[in-house]
Symmetry: D2
Subunit: 472 residues, 4 copies
């Protein structure tokens, strides 16, 4: 379904990099990317280097559709990076697909990126002023061209030199002739982990689920501010810039983005989600007969809520798994029952029941109402909506598409108004304190979308570009 | 993943038919087919009639990929049928795609079919002997051409005349110039239901989940042996041939095929699966700490098993949702860890635990062993495999692809051997009696794949064709 | 250019059949079809048989685009037929693509056809009445299904039995399990020739240019009413029905359709076109300085006209060779100068000259006027249009699309009106007598489009179908 | 046919630029490109600007296939450039497709190029040393990025500043936000002309045939060293750098590349080719009965040879017009008769004749022999091969692909050896003097491929790049 029944934030990318000791690195990268598909479904790419030459294929589509044996065959070498992205539609999609590959005075250079630089417009105008011609509109090209032009004896020197000038979120993978590098911003906004491949080589990836799919061992997080340099069995890890005094990991990775089988900050995502449900049950109990998740992301939290509350867990909504793009708009009649294309209810599990409905977030507020209606039509006596994150009232500037500020329903309505708007008997959001308790932390996370307290200043000086939109 | 990590039987088709009062029947059919996508992911088609002329589009691919606005636009009319199928690859895929559309002396005729005629080869050779030229290798063409040549004043007369000669499983939808018909074999092998569209028209579909997606009300099962004739707001239901004395519904629809939000035989699939888990817990208890499903099909049974056993339910395996075809074979190294491409474990939920693993079936036995290994690697102390169906020891002749007889692992091994083969601490299959208890029935179901007792004779006389394989 | 600057009749098909002694028959068929591409540019197909099984690939597009190595590889065997067709656009294009392949009681049967049966509607309704279901709207399916149902011991017996019931034009190639057959209607409307392949096998094709491309020797015409049976080095030729007392070869094959390097009726096409130009020069001389052809079809006639008249031959118009389909409509401004997309003039060869412009035919009259204007704009002092066929005033019923009767400009205007309409200084058509003189014949040719004297009766009894247009 | 029967040099590109007063500039550019298709059949692109924003579409394929209405619709604006190119296959094809579009500090910039800079490797390494990252391997990107970084107040200033540093052949079209510019190297290697559009705007194109297709008037050549600045009805022409003392137009444009309906250097190509034939007849007469061209390029020269020699002109070879790419290799048997796929002979015009065969050039010498054989098999008594250019013995460095030096057959064989090699009775090449006489010139043309006297020095200093091939 093309977006109309989806009310979650959008992660923008997944990255992966491998420096292996064998010759099947393109296949391995493919399978790793396949495990990161949930981080971006609109375009994907793989670049491979063989010691001297780099080759690339990138295209709009799903990983499994793009990469046929014919597409992978020419991608020979032992070093590779891959990227999967969510992007806007249209030809710009193809132009901004990653990795971004160039020839430089130091040899081939490819870069793929998850995150967002808040000073990208500034950096971009600097490049333009220096006489560069830019083919894309992304901060990825900006970082790549800065790296191509940087001074220094080695790629890690040059990268380390540039990192202080990049303000915002970046988890990068970089391919050069015979090495794969990775780097993470000093705030640690987005995840990035490293591990050892079964063949003795090394890999980095946005999420550990991809490293585990590849059979990696010794999996660790890439530290904020760190550069990892991988060359087959050799690996060096350099603290290029000091980590920020207070880290700013994205809480939403735990709430929604990451796969439940990934670990981050030494915690398993599924476990954290369970604990979010447990905290929610303590903070916002409900008199009810059944705990029902909005599948699939809210299942662990519903398990946790059920465990603590003692209210039985059961399925109440079934989701159509074939959620690829469709091009067909629903008919007028169907549009009034929009979520029907994605969800059906299970009346036998709901009829006469007082239901606690667990959802991960409320962004534009377009699906909660129809889901409540669906439960009521299935006979639910009461519906108590419980959300595993606080109200989202500020846009994200660090790589997540939550829509514009005025799309955010919680910024426009009180909780009571929201409750009436969605038609629930009660509605409650977890508090920031309880959410952090589920994480077992008191700080180190970016909660700007809930609080408006951005860890780096978001000012006009970052966006002085007079050159916007000259490429369409 | 192309099959290598999937050890379930294959349903062969989903069908849908609509006779509406409006002009958006192609769009409605699309959304209904989209809800039946799980019944066949290799080809799909829609045929539409406008009172005099029929138009069709069918192609290899997923419903959401095939039907763009450009493809649907020419499909004008108020009457439609649709089909989604699992089929073998290659050009035969396209040739055998459904619906099958012909011009007849009575006007246009399109037919789509879920099931399998056991006497198809006989009927086929009869047609050939009468001088027909056949373009496909399916029983669908056979039924269509028999109908084109049948005597009788009306389509329902002709259809009723033919039904006694069709031995086996068929749930049919038929499109003619201004009417949609549906028919179901007298044994009732495969599901088929009918309901009223919001616009006053009527619809039939393999599963009620599709009718509910379309907003249908007054949903009832099409009775075994019944013909349904739909023309907008008019609907007639004719018991064309008597239902078999003992019905033969396919048990596997409840165990695996149907979507949990579908109803059949007045029972909800999700509820039946929960009860299968409950019966399994009673029949085959285990000393364990956690009940873990193989997602997604075994989730309801795991909920039921947990409820009765008192052992907590939790996720232990995470499945990659992007399960479209991929063309890339895993590397040798990855092949030894095959299920890794599809599943990762959740060690935090498994470490040190005694696990009850719930799976729906064991066919070729290719995934159970790797899944048990995955759990053990994640730290599970014991793994007790519980299967929600009895051992499958006979091939199906009624529309399900379980592989050849000698593919069936339970036909070759004792339960003890199976346990050693998959590396579990214990393994247990639900008994036929307990399975039927979960259904609340003592008969009326085909359990031939478990028992070898086929409800209709499977003999050579059905397969006297000397003409096999002249088209490749 | 999509038709707007083309004012020639459309040939509907080219056919080819090979029974070789080797294993590369699909490749050979491909190269033969490639030489017949001018007879149909909208769809093409190849069917191959290996002694027991037949395989096919057919698709919309040009021969060179459709048949990749991947498409040809599965087409294994020693016997093949191929077809290239002009057809109307839309989905019906794919459905009516040829060859038409069916399984019959006698084994596989594929048929491809060039021509048109005038009693197709009658035969079609006969088949429908006998209970057949028809998937296409072409007379090819009708002939194929009649053959599938025919009585007789051998394919040639059955074919011979049916030929008397087929009224009209047909040059057929037929593929069965281990043999290729060919047949030609008793009137001899459309060409068909046979030859020996370099490997000792045999081939038939619509035109000898395809046989020569394949290196054939002993090339002869398939006789009107004849069946040719080919099995590798064996060939039998059977006069199945007597040739018509007066043959009816299509004159237009010489005027326009056939490639100049083909022979027919023991004459070379290029030579006949030269003689048409010579006759035209005798019959309709002009006081002029240069003879200019409309490229490419009128070049040989212009050579002949120049030779007899003594007026020098030269190019005056250059044609864009990349005449595949384009989807882009010319702008309004360009539409007023329509032929500009296809032709440019050569002012240096035209300025101040009195020009004899040689064209092959005038059908709808849409291009002659703009071409005359183009010459005048290039400085031509006078333009004398000379046409190498008589005025076309009747539609063809034997496989040529000349448009409907009221599209034919010569049916609506006198020669004087035509001259004013196209803006020429003079216009002249070759007479039927002079045209026949160029052929060196007095009869044996169908000139119905010029005379209205159809060699077989065109009556309502041939078209009694009440079933038209039930498939769109 | 994929190259195996083609023995001509390859032109590398065609360019076009339009600054119109209307809104259909994308359509106009399409039709102009369509007229330049012969200059490159492997990729094409169009970029359009609307006063502030530039949009582009480029792809591998033929112009008529790439540009559908859906592709053209987003290309809104009044200013456009287009390009069609011959390129090597593989992914590099897509990456090097033109125009090349970037954002610069001055706004959008797109550039398309016909020619070749001999100092491209030097310029490229300069850019790399300055820190640029290059995405392609073409000199087009080099020129674009140099322009993006150039100093100066206006685009023409910046372009004029750079032109002296570009050594070699370039005919450029450049698109910026609201203007189209064109420039030509001071040697005038490749053609480029300018004209006024019917709507009052202006256009430039590689050949006048494209301008004439668009209805242009006041067509003139862009002068060597000149910049043309076009903005709707405004046009400025600036002699940016002085023309070379001795111009170096490519003679091969007249011999082979350009369409016969184009003019260059105030001469019509068809006329020059006629005169080449006339000169050849004077210089190398033959005792013969018929003059036969190798179609299509040698037709005008054959007309000229016939006129002067008094020997009648006639067709002797027919070429298959459907010369798009085919993917199918000829069978072994057919390979020995290679030219058969492209040419058939006309025995009736050849049998017993002494033939003068006119061909435009002999490069690798792969087709002349088979063509002579074809004529002899058709009965030609003698074959006298006459070539309208001198022997090619040196590679071109100015944008023409003649293959490597050791591919050139005339560099390895004497004329006598060549005659025996191709099996002709006699063979003769036009002399440089006679060729120049046909042009009516004594100098001003580059004949380096015949003489080895390159108009600019070809030295190692131009190719000091150590960075070759880091992108594959």
């Amino acid at each position: 379904m093309h977006d109309y029944s989806d009310d979650s934030p959008r992660e923008e990318c997944g990255v992966i990099g491998l420096s292996s000791t064998g010759t099947q690195v393109a296949q391995q990268t493919f399978f790793g990317l396949f495990a990161l598909q949930h981080r971006g479904q609109e375009a994907a790419g793989i670049a491979v280097a063989d010691g001297s030459t780099a080759r690339i294929h990138k295209e709009v589509g799903l990983v499994g559709q793009i990469f046929t044996p014919e597409r992978l065959a020419p991608l020979v070498g032992s070093h590779a990076i891959g990227h999967t992205r969510y992007s806007t539609t249209g030809s710009s999609g193809a132009r901004n697909a990653q990795p971004f590959l160039v020839e430089t005075m130091y040899g081939p250079l490819a870069l793929a990126h998850n995150g967002n630089l808040v000073n990208a417009a500034y950096l971009r105008s600097e490049l333009l002023t220096r006489g560069f011609g830019l083919t894309a509109t992304s901060d990825t090209e900006v970082m790549t061209l800065m790296l191509a032009a940087a001074k220094g004896d080695t790629w890690e020197d040059r990268l380390a030199t540039l990192m202080p000038s990049w303000i915002g979120a970046y988890s990068l993978v970089i391919l050069v002739a015979d090495t794969v590098l990775a780097a993470r911003d000093p705030w640690g906004f987005r995840p990035l982990s490293v591990g050892r491949l079964p063949d003795g080589g090394h890999a980095v990836a946005s999420e550990t689920c991809a490293l585990r799919t590849l059979g990696c061992t010794d999996i660790e997080e890439v530290r904020p501010g760190e550069i990892v340099v991988m060359n087959g069995t050799d690996i060096r890890r350099i603290q290029a810039v000091p980590a920020a005094a207070t880290l700013s990991r994205c809480t939403f990775e735990f709430i929604y983005f990451s796969r439940p089988d990934s670990d981050w900050d030494s915690m398993n995502v599924h476990q954290v989600r369970q604990r979010l449900g447990e905290q929610l049950a303590i903070e916002h109990p409900a008199q009810a007969d059944v705990v029902v998740p909005v599948p699939d992301s809210s299942i662990p939290a519903a398990i946790g809520y059920a465990r603590v509350s003692g209210i039985p867990y059961n399925d109440g909504l079934i989701k159509n798994r074939y959620i690829g793009r469709t091009f067909i708009e629903p008919t007028q009649e169907m549009r009034t029952r929009r979520v029907a294309m994605k969800f059906n209810s299970l009346p036998e599990n709901l009829a006469g029941q007082r239901v606690v409905l667990i959802d991960d977030s409320l962004v534009r507020g377009t699906t909660a109402g129809p889901l409540v209606t669906l439960l009521r039509e299935a006979g639910a006596r009461e519906v108590h909506l419980r959300i595993t994150c606080p109200p989202i009232i500020n846009a994200c500037h660090f790589g997540v598409d939550m829509g514009h500020d005025n799309d955010l329903i919680a910024a426009r309505m009180t909780v009571d108004e929201l409750c009436r708007h969605v038609g629930a008997d009660s509605i409650a959001f977890i508090s920031i304190e309880a959410m952090m308790a589920a994480l077992g932390k008191t700080n180190g996370y970016c909660n700007a979308c809930f609080t408006g307290e951005y860890p780096v200043e978001i000012t006009r000086r970052h966006t002085k570009s007079q050159f916007d939109h000259v490429l369409a």
